[in-house]
Symmetry: C2
Subunit: 407 residues, 2 copies
């Protein structure tokens, strides 16, 4: 039986307790949507004020050198690297997850001439599937989807790349990265992992799994702010062979020589395309700094404890609500998802009570647990609110069924 | 004969005088590099503070709806539109100039099946040429370069697209957009204009010229901050046919339906790829707001008067220094460029004196005039400093010849 005193005792004993104070969390809100948009680190507002007023306002163009703006994509990438089991020079922060997917899918196809199939699963996050479709429309790729139980069987000699999201955005189910990477390699294919729901939330060992390529999101568990730059990983052994098609001037070996012909920079830098977005990268750096400061071991321990606590609490307050996330906490991401035909209205009713989770079409209520700042008491409050919303039927109000532009 | 009292009289009579006060310009600095990085608008720091603390910190995920984050790319695009002679629904703010170039070059190739040549000129801004090279390496494009005098002759039945930068970044020379667009159309090709050195600086009439496609930079004359999002234009008549390969979820007809198959949004929205970068777009919006508020007519008048004043002043203080920008102010961008074998060291010596212009490899000193905040007195001071630097030989100091990472 979970209860409020138990939740408070767990919070009091939580080694991450003091880190929560480094985030701006509005009073009266239980925020369980850090897997969609991470909370604002207090340091971000002052850092961006400094970047704007001192570096941009006073330093002006000189800050590319004096504030070392030019190396910000590499610096932030290196800070993300240990969170995903990569070496610092294997990760870079740039563009969006979608754009980085395009670069790396195309690069993988170029590394496997004669093979055109990119294998993924139906129901993968849309942008992953759509970016394959973009290359398919260009005649460069062929999209193949197989349900997760049939993925290994679908790996044949036509497959250039296996592209999967490590933690599923809807269910939280986690792929076995080591096993699937091995299976892809056995079939002569490369593997590209989307870590959007993993980085900063669950342990990832890209190097240990011998992963080839990865991308991930900056605005979820890394707290980089809405639409923050994403990151991309390329294993060092592929650096020299890597040819990506978005060959912009910042990925050139000598951008300031202004030559007519493209020559890729050595190493991970060749993933760069346009001028780095400094304000956005500085915000991302502040978010990553906190997560890297806590470290994946403590984040993992806390994440699993939180989700187990929340699962037990909701099993008591809303016993009829099916949880569709894996039961084993080591087999799921830092979230719990529940299925209900009126999930949208239930989610709105919860938000009206100050409990912010989110809805995923058509019938999923998703509760995210950001170990850096979510408390056990938040979980307890969320479970109570969910029980009361279901019990009272208050979600039936028409205003809770009105769909907003962004759901 | 230009002189300081004359400069001050011109500033006193300048109808844009009060706008300069809306930018944060450091005292003691003559900033002639707004064509590389526009100055910080005072409103940007407070706007971003508000976006961070209130919209992100307090509103959290809800702000996608409540603060209408989701429409920011369209809103900023619509605000840029009148500056380039476009309709509001023809422009969108997203990604970098380089990434937008890739989308639109690929889209043009798809609209001209059977033609693979993308025609440009040698010495065009590198990223424009490199993005063609990226598609060339994929086997989708064939890059052809012709000197500007031979461009029209190079337009044959193999050319799918003519890709040019309207105002040349090194010399400031301006192409005749109407004439070249007509010539491209006569040859059955489309035209893509890079407006990076034009938008907010010189008059552009995309609609009047019947231009097909355009891109432009957010961090030069639009003052969006270092690495700000760029913009892209597609003439309405091409909206329905437009197929660009970076088919991310934000360009989908129904992003929140989370379907497996891509279906493009109608209109300009299909140029979107990943999640919009809200902090960066909010900063860009503040910069664009000022420029749109002044309007292109007043900006053009001021720009031409400034550059004529600066040209005359430098002709007196540094009479031996060749100006390589066109003499006719209506045939050049809002800049003046000078050639000297020691341009790098001269530029550094000027910066040491507080006069910030920039250097472009191998021998160009570039002085940009941002009509929203550059004063005639700044031009007079720059001309004096340039004369003194050349006269004294102070540029010969070894520290001025040491190349920085970013030049």
């Amino acid at each position: 039986m979970s209860n409020l005193p138990e939740a408070r005792a767990l919070d009091a004993a939580d080694p991450l307790r003091s880190w929560r104070g480094l985030f701006a969390l509005p009073p009266g809100v239980v925020y369980l949507d850090g897997n969609s948009l991470g909370a604002l680190p207090l340091g971000t507002a002052s850092r961006l004020g400094e970047v704007m007023r001192r570096e941009w306002g006073e330093g002006l163009i000189r800050s590319w050198n004096t504030a070392d703006w030019i190396s910000l994509p590499r610096r932030v990438g290196a800070m993300i690297a240990p969170l995903v089991g990569a070496a610092p020079h294997e990760v870079i922060a740039c563009d969006s997850t979608s754009v980085n997917l395009f670069k790396l899918i195309a690069a993988a196809l170029a590394m496997r001439p004669g093979r055109k199939v990119v294998l993924s699963e139906p129901g993968n996050f849309p942008t992953d599937l759509y970016m394959i479709a973009g290359l398919e429309a260009q005649g460069l790729a062929e999209r193949r989807l197989a349900p997760r139980a049939e993925l290994v069987a679908a790996l044949d000699e036509d497959v250039a790349l296996l592209l999967l999201t490590h933690v599923h955005y809807k269910t939280g189910a986690m792929h076995d990265m080591a096993r699937l990477t091995r299976a892809a390699h056995d079939a002569g294919a490369l593997v590209l992992w989307d870590l959007s729901h993993s980085a900063g939330a669950v342990p990832v060992d890209l190097t240990g799994c011998e992963a080839d390529l990865a991308v991930g999101c900056g605005y979820k568990y890394l707290n980089g702010g809405p639409g923050a730059p994403a990151f991309a990983f390329v294993a060092e052994r592929h650096h020299e062979a890597l040819q990506q098609p978005l060959t912009g001037w910042m990925g050139h070996a000598a951008p300031f020589a202004f030559t007519d012909d493209y020559a890729p920079a050595s190493g991970i830098d060749r993933l760069l395309t346009g001028t780095p977005p400094i304000l956005a990268l500085a915000a991302l750096e502040e978010g990553v700094k906190l997560i890297a400061g806590i470290g994946m071991e403590r984040l993992t321990t806390k994440s699993r404890a939180l989700s187990e606590f929340l699962r037990a609490a909701i099993a008591e307050t809303a016993p009829g609500l099916p949880c569709i996330s894996p039961e084993d906490p080591t087999a799921r991401g830092s979230q719990l998802s529940f299925r209900h035909p009126e999930a949208y209205a239930i989610c709105q009713a919860l938000i009206a009570r100050g409990v912010i989770g989110d809805f995923r079409d058509p019938d999923i209520l998703r509760l995210g647990l950001a170990p850096a700042y979510t408390r056990f008491e938040d979980c307890w409050n969320a479970a109570q609110a969910l029980g009361e919303v279901l019990e009272s039927g208050e979600w039936e109000r028409p205003e809770y069924r009105q769909r907003a532009a962004v759901t």
